[in-house]
Structures are given as C-alpha cells and as structure tokens.
Symmetry: C2
C-alpha cells in the first residue's frame, strides 16, 4: 500500500487566466510534513485526425514557455466548466484545422506532468473528415500542415518530436495501426 | 513563417521549491499584446531500464496534484544548476530502484506541457543493470515493481497508463523493439 498524502492546509498563491497556483501542506511518511506546489489547470484535448488519404493535420505554433515554434497535434483547453471533453475536441479540431469529423474514438486520457500539475489531456482519434474554414483564437498564430504518418514516425525516430503530448498520441496511433495490420 | 512572440515585460509571481511562476506580457499577431503565464521548472529525467530478463522497473507513488497513486517509470528532477541530464538519470535510477546500469542510450528529450511549462524531460534507455539498495528522498514514498513489457503494453492498450511521460517513453521503447525484431 503506497502512502497517501493528506492535506493539512492549502494556500492559493495565484489565480490566473489559464492556471492557478496553490501550495498544500501535506502529511508525508514517518509523520513528517512537507509542501506541494500545485498548478491547477482545467485540462484539455488532443486530436489525432486522419484524412481520407491517411494524412494527419499538424500545427506549428510559437510557445512562449519554450521560446520556440513547436510542431504539435491539434489541441486545446477545456472551457471553464466544460464537462464533456469530446465537445471540446470537436471545437478545437475545427478551430485549428477547419476539419469536422464524423467518427470519434477516445484513445486515452493522461496527465501531462503528475509532479505538479492537475492538467489531464483527453486524446481522440478523429476520422471521416470534412474540410472547412479555420477559426483561430485571436491571440493564436497557427500554421496548419498535412503530414503522412510515416514521415511523422521518422521524425519521432530521429527525436524531432519534442512535444510530449504529440509524441505519446502519435506513438499510440502508430502501435494501433501496426496491430490492425497484423 | 510562424509569428514569434516577443517579451515586452515579465513579472515574477512566485519563487518556489520545485517551480517558479512568472507572467510575461508579449506581442501577438496584428500588433496586439497578450499575457502568458509560465511555470519555470528545472526539467528532469525519465528512465526505461531493462533488466537481463527483459523486465522493466516501475514505481508507484502518490502524486498530490492528481490525488491518486500513479504508476510510472522511474524519473526525477534535475538538481539546481545540473547541466548533464545523464548524471541525473543515473542518480534517479539508483535512488528509486537501486539499479545501476552499464549501458545508457538517450532516447528523446521532450516538453511535458508546452502551453505553460518550461519543463523538459530527458529520456534514457538503461541496460546491463546491477541491482542494489534504493535511496529514496526523505519526502518520497515509492513502491518498486518489475514488469514484463508485454503486460505494460496491455495496460497501455486498455488506457490504464495515465502518466503522459510514462506513456510516451514506453511506446517509444515498444516501437524500437518492434523495429529491431523485424
């Protein structure tokens, strides 16, 4: 049985636009106490969309935290109070790529950084796509590209996919495709 | 060419033990400005260690941010000022599992959450293991288990690996094994 930390007190340090930061005082093993710094995040969605020709829409976006343009799968945050991540996935796919999809399959939901963040990403496979116009958030500058899966797998093999969520979701799609083709 | 945001001003909101939080005012497209909330994190390491019998050491640890015990690969933060992640990987593998490894291979380095965190995880394959005693941090309660890769892949297929870093690294190891066996 792994020791479970209990909250003794909790201090909200910052309430922001995309995250809050709080500091919890907790029980740790041997009757000691410690502190945990926790980023509260509403969570988000991540989409592996597959067009009729097998190509996958990818986006390039400058990410201030990394100080570089990151090559990613389409993704986005849940709206405040949003309880159905599939609704968010449909919205974000359309906003970032213009596509709508007739077939949606939940692949996995995972935490991005269990050490300090509550953020969970709900990952979907979107198929049977119909193209349309994009509808970016006014503060987002996003380039859209369509990629052959094999070219993405080669990037992975060369260590060139450096966005963790994109790496996990593309690899999951890759192993599913391999399993289906056996 | 994707628009790159420039920093107009930067405010440090919180300096903590494992992270800092700052708020940057940035240029966005169409000559507008916006704010980016950024978690500064020293980054860390993540280890897929493979014993002589093929088994992979996994750990279970209560993660306050998720309010549950998470099943993960061995991992840890870089020490302040630490520049060689391989040194950190060797330390963390030994602390959490007791193992030392004679063969180390860098697999990939990736960001855990590009939307708001500077955290990068350097991921290694560790082979030719020698068992030894664990040396946990005094505030960590960690259970160690040895797992057959196939059993881990089945957990992935059932959506039961919910730690993003573990999902990405195990899937990367899985695809490499598949490639090697072809």
């Amino acid at each position: 049985m792994v020791f479970e930390e209990k909250t003794l007190s909790s201090e909200m340090i910052y309430r922001g636009a995309i995250l809050n930061l709080r500091k919890d005082k907790v029980t740790v093993k041997d009757s000691h106490t410690s502190y945990r710094e926790i980023v509260e995040h509403s969570g988000g969605v991540l989409i592996v969309a597959v067009a009729a020709d097998g190509k996958i829409p990818m986006v390039r976006q400058f990410r201030k935290a990394t100080e570089q343009v990151i090559f990613e799968l389409p993704a986005g945050k849940l709206d405040p109070g949003e309880t159905d991540p599939l609704v968010a996935a449909k919205r974000e796919l359309h906003e970032e790529t213009g596509y709508t999809a007739a077939k949606w399959t939940h692949l996995v939901s995972f935490y991005t950084s269990v050490g300090y963040s509550t953020e969970m990403l709900h990952t979907y496979l979107a198929e049977e796509l119909t193209a349309g116009d994009t509808d970016f958030d006014e503060n987002e500058a996003i380039d859209l590209e369509l990629w052959e899966p094999e070219a993405l797998y080669e990037m992975i093999d060369r260590g060139e996919i450096i966005d963790g969520k994109t790496l996990a979701a593309l690899l999951l799609y890759r192993t599913r495709q391999t399993a289906d083709s056996v």
